[in-house]
Amino acid sequence: MLYNQPNPLEVRVLTRRFGLPNSHSIETYLASDGYKAFEKALGMTQEQIIDEVKASGLRGRGGAGFPTGMKWGFVPRQSPKPKYIVVNADESEPGTCKDRLLIEYDPHQLIEGVLIAGLAVGAQQGYVYIRGEYRYLIEVMDRAIDEAYAKGMLGDNILGRGVKFHLATHSGAGAYECGEESALLESFEGKRGNPRIRPPFPAVAGAYQCPTVLNNVETYCAVPSIILNGGAYFAGLGTPKNGGTRLFCLSGHINKPGVYELPMGFNLMRMINEVGGGMRGGKKLKAVIPGGSSCPVLKADECDVAMDFDSVAAAKSMLGSGGVVVMDEDTCMVNAALRIMRFYAHESCGWCIPCREGTTWLRKLLTRFHEGMGTRSDIILIGDLSKNMLGRTFCPLGDAAAMPTIAFVEKFRDEFEAHLDGKPCPYEKKLVAA
């Protein structure tokens, strides 16, 4: 069962098997080009595979948008240590719900992407780190892995070609921080999910301090199409330096929320109106968070933007993880900022003081503000505190909390001022669309 209907404007590459009967089974996968990219990759050199991924313009779908081929190229060719492929399926950025579907409907596409990554860097072992809340997906993935072993697509001698690769799932237990690559690796090793100082990066010292490729689910899922159809094909789907399609998760005050696969560079206003079915109840658009809660909010008049990494960066926000959160005219931006800060204060791991103290202090300030007990100087304090968190932490969680807060205050200062002097929230009880 699909959770939302597809849209005709979609370009379905990673999601093309969604909706097929038993799309999660290896039979369906094999009947629709499944594992053909891996077979093709068996005839390529490591450099050829990495060059193809570089040519595709694929950039990390977890949020940072780092070029995937380049990341794979950082793994040392010669290493006395074993190498690992780790899949980040700890999807927990508010607004993001795409990796869930990629695993639920097409787990073999992920396995094939991991196998190709293994060939590219010479790794023989992979792990899929899945957030604990996605228990049913751990079961889906385990069954798919069992199927792959049974068909000889995983094991000591894959397809009789002398290639060895083993894959297993690994359950998280509830921690946003573990979606950050170095914290994920600590957690994977059985410890608290605190981030590591970098460098060294995981490509050199990742899982068990061994060379490791660590990418988001969607990133690996793009790889079979790239190898099978060529990097140029994938690059051509998107915009320069932003290859391919991406799964956008539309949520909030729109008529047709859902996960849609659209070309990189798809215009945000078209996404809201033509894919998302427009605003609910005919309300006016107020703001959009373009890529998950860590990304600075865009005002309605800033939303005529191409949704690729570089264009959204030029609009002073981030494409992030593809979580597009749409807010209408009745949304209280102080409340939105507060809810997001409650999240970061809860999820800060406490390792770095600017983040631990900053998020907690901001949560208290924003709570006070929303309750009508803020002062004019608090508005300045919120901005100052946020700016003092930027760049002062091991991992980007501190930045992820500070950046959207700065944007909320700068872009919607009038709403903050409307909460001053003990006035009740002007939007209270109007939040839910009629």
């Binding site: 959770y3 508010p94 869930r100 996605y134 690994h170 059985g190 949520s251 809660s293 939105a336 669309a433």
Partner: protein, 173 residues
Amino acid sequence: MTFSPETEARFAKFLAKYPADRKRSAVIPMLIYGQDELGAVTDELINEIAKRVGVTPLQVTEVVGFYSMLHRKPQGKYHVQVCTNISCLLVGGAELWEQACHKLGIGHKQVTADGRISLEEVECMGACSWAPAIQVNYDFYHDVTPAQLDKLIDGLAAGKKPEEIAEVPKVNP
């Protein structure tokens, strides 16, 4: 300490997944599946996991406090988790949360007197496009209406299992 045959088999599989000198990796998976069987992370479970993976009980204990899904006290038989993060907030998640608290007379991380239901206001669970969403134990419920939440809580309180409450079907396989 021994577990059910299913859990023992699962633990054996976990311990075989990781390199022989890296069994500590199994700590978190063992904690969460062990908790599922016992209802909480008990001292006994901590000691047993420490013994099996070859670390100190303290090295297991320090992990427990970090992860929001691990808990030292038992939850209700049905743990109702309501997301109020941004995407759910915009379409009624906070109202669902208030409704659940009001209806059951309990709050965040509290359990009803009969031990059947516990409540938790949770962070994003990855159902943003089908918000507002809740989870009961490990099952997802999308696009939840106030009427559905009423039916679900009434049913659970009356002794039904979630799958017996036809008006509120889980969405995951």
